[in-house]
């Protein structure tokens, strides 16, 4: 059963149309990944869902209720914004207590801080926290409402690899322990691909596609695509050009418009190019993302 349904949602800032008819459904209990390049409208979409921004047209339903019925919707949706901010002259307990008062809830703040691994820093002013710690406190903040849905907008931005791993671990833990629907946005597929059950790809103001990793890969006719990483990209590029293989390149990585794996492997082997990674398009979420947002 969908907990969030968006139908033909439009939103503009003056003349600039950001959302141009978004249709999306998020199922109960899943971790949903919203992928889209910077400026695609992910933050606008979330803020519109929460009623922080008024949409121009369309309908948004949370648990079957329209999102403009006042305070109730905001009580059901926890939100961590991309630029997470707190009252820096207050410690994490004071911040969470203040937000809990606004949400009219009485959460176990110590438990929440333990969940995000901040129990030892709870009496330090938030101004002294690192970006990673603030993001984790942001997750705890989104949970003080004890929401049915939690929205995390670009939660891994600005985190180091260790921080990203920790963050993913916390999200999985929350999803398991609290049986909560979680929506996470990112413009980097690798950061959320292993975490999410389903994905939506937002580009040019609309959801271009949504589904599981497998479903998305099928949508772009991936049988004719191959993704490889090589050690000599310049030489490889010449080889592909000479062999008339359509391709796009990102550093050492190539996306080839052919499914003839044997031919590719043989050609590169003959020219002494080492292949670091070889992936058929079927398993590549990134290829679907690149294809749909290009």
């Amino acid at each position: 059963m969908p907990v969030m349904e968006l139908e033909n949602v439009y939103k503009s800032y003056g003349e600039h149309q950001v959302l141009k008819g978004v249709n999306l459904e998020v199922e109960n209990g899943e971790i949903f990944g919203l992928l889209g390049p910077n400026g695609a409208g992910k933050t606008t979409l979330f803020q519109t869902v929460l009623g922080m921004l008024r949409h121009d047209k369309g309908s948004i339903k949370i648990n079957n209720n329209p999102n403009n019925i006042g305070k109730e919707i905001k009580k059901e949706v926890g939100y961590l914004s991309a630029d997470v901010s707190f009252y820096e002259d207050m410690d994490s307990v004071e911040n969470l207590r203040f937000f809990a008062e606004l949400a009219e809830t009485n959460p176990d703040i110590d438990q929440l801080l333990k969940l995000v691994g901040l129990e030892d820093d709870k009496h330090r002013n938030v101004g002294e926290y690192s970006t990673g710690m603030k993001k984790r406190l942001g997750v705890a903040q989104a949970l003080v409402k004890d929401p049915k849905i939690a929205i995390f907008d670009e939660p891994t931005t600005g985190l180091d690899p260790e921080g990203k791993n920790k963050f993913r671990h916390h999200i999985e833990k929350i999803n398991e322990e609290k049986d909560m629907t979680i929506i996470i946005s990112s413009h980097i597929t690798a950061e959320i691909s292993s975490l999410c059950d389903r994905f939506g790809i937002l580009a040019e103001g609309v959801i271009k596609a949504s589904g599981t990793k497998k479903e998305l890969s099928k949508m772009i006719d991936s049988s004719n695509r191959t993704s490889i990483i090589v050690d000599r990209p310049e030489k490889s590029q010449k080889i592909f050009e000479e062999a008339n293989i359509d391709h796009s390149r990102e550093g050492r990585k190539f996306l080839l418009e052919t499914g003839d794996e044997q031919k590719i492997l043989k050609t590169l082997y003959e020219k002494s190019v080492k292949i670091k990674s070889f992936e058929s398009e079927e398993a590549s979420l990134e290829a679907a993302y690149l294809n749909l947002t290009r």
Binding site: S85, F86, L102, K145
Partner: protein, 335 residues
């Protein structure tokens, strides 16, 4: 309502934990005490004059004399400034720090955020004023070794209420500007400039009135012309002409009087736009100054209250209009 009080309480706690804010309140206290000290000196001088047997025209000074420099000179400026300084960044700071987005993601209506900010700030100024009035009254009682009577205490209490409403207007103005401008400095400078404009409104309105309503030159008859006219009249000639000249002079004087009253009316109307002017009228009435000037007798408290209630209501409506403008701007903004 609960959320409004949560925000108001936080605003209160934030203010009292900031050194800059405590510095401003400290400065306000010093200026209040300084003004009351001047008032005490004036009271003592009037009392000496009253006790001097050779001076039979002098009246016994009222305890309220102590507050004259504070209420009539200092407060219109420093109270307005206090209102602006505590509110000029109340919304823009939340926006700059990114906490506004966080607040709005909670079940809080936008008007509750504005109400919380305004109520918190008004509570702070009311409390600061109360402390300032209490401490300065204590100083006056200690130095003069005299106690105010019930009527004087009632008048001081109503001046405290009026001053709180006056500051509430500037709290509204500061909040409005902090909603309108992203830059905190722009809203502070804007607020101070508007306060200066309000303080000088009667003067500016006077200049505008002089420009709009041009005063005709008076027509004075020269002594020689007068003598000539007398001579002519004596001879029984040109009598009609003399009458016409006299009528013309009277007509000019009448027109000058009309212009004078139009100018006065213009200045009064324009000055009513200024809450500083309304506040001055209110405090003058509450202190009984206007009576003493026009009538010579001290008004009763009931008479003063009756005279000042209009100004108080007008002051409340001016503050309410400022709050309404803030809601209108904030509710229309996206984030």
């Amino acid at each position: 309502m609960g959320d409004m009080w949560d925000i108001a309480t936080k605003q209160l706690r934030d203010s009292f934990s900031k050194k800059t804010f405590l510095g401003v309140i400290g400065l306000f206290m010093v200026l209040t005490l300084g003004s009351v000290y001047l008032g005490i000196a004036e009271y003592e001088s009037q009392m000496q004059s009253y006790l001097d047997p050779s001076n039979s025209f002098s009246e016994e000074p009222s305890f309220l004399e102590v507050y004259s420099p504070l209420v009539q000179i200092s407060l219109p400026l420093i109270a307005g400034f206090l209102g602006i300084i505590i509110s000029y960044n109340s919304i823009s700071k939340e926006r700059r720090d990114g906490t506004m987005e966080m607040l709005l993601s909670y079940p809080v209506y936008r008007d509750e955020i504005i109400n919380g900010k305004i109520v918190g700030n008004i509570f702070i100024v009311a409390l600061s004023l109360l402390i300032a009035f209490t401490v300065s009254s204590g100083l006056a009682i200690y130095m003069l070794e005299t106690l105010p009577n019930i009527e004087e205490i009632s008048r001081i209490s109503f001046i405290w209420i009026g001053t709180t409403v006056y500051i509430a207007f500037f709290v509204g103005l500061g909040t409005f500007l902090s909603t309108l401008f992203k830059s905190q400095w722009r809203s502070l400078v804007g607020g101070v400039l508007i306060l200066m404009f309000f303080l000088s409104t009667p003067f500016i309105a006077g200049m505008a009135a002089n420009f709009i309503y041009e005063m005709p030159e008076p027509e004075f008859s020269s002594p020689s012309a007068s003598a000539e006219r007398t001579a002519v009249t004596e001879h029984g000639e040109h009598e009609i002409m003399v009458e016409r000249e006299r009528a013309q002079e009277q007509d000019t004087e009448q027109r000058r009087e009309e212009i004078r009253s139009k100018r006065e009316e213009f200045v009064q109307t324009a000055s009513r736009l200024s809450p500083t002017n309304t506040y001055s009228q209110y405090t003058e009435n509450m202190m009984g100054v206007s009576y003493r000037v026009t009538d010579g007798a001290d008004p009763t408290f009931a008479e003063s209250l009756n005279d000042s209630i209009d100004a108080l209501i007008y002051l409340v409506s001016q503050a309410a209009m400022m709050f309404a403008a803030t809601y209108a701007v904030f509710l229309r903004q996206d984030l």
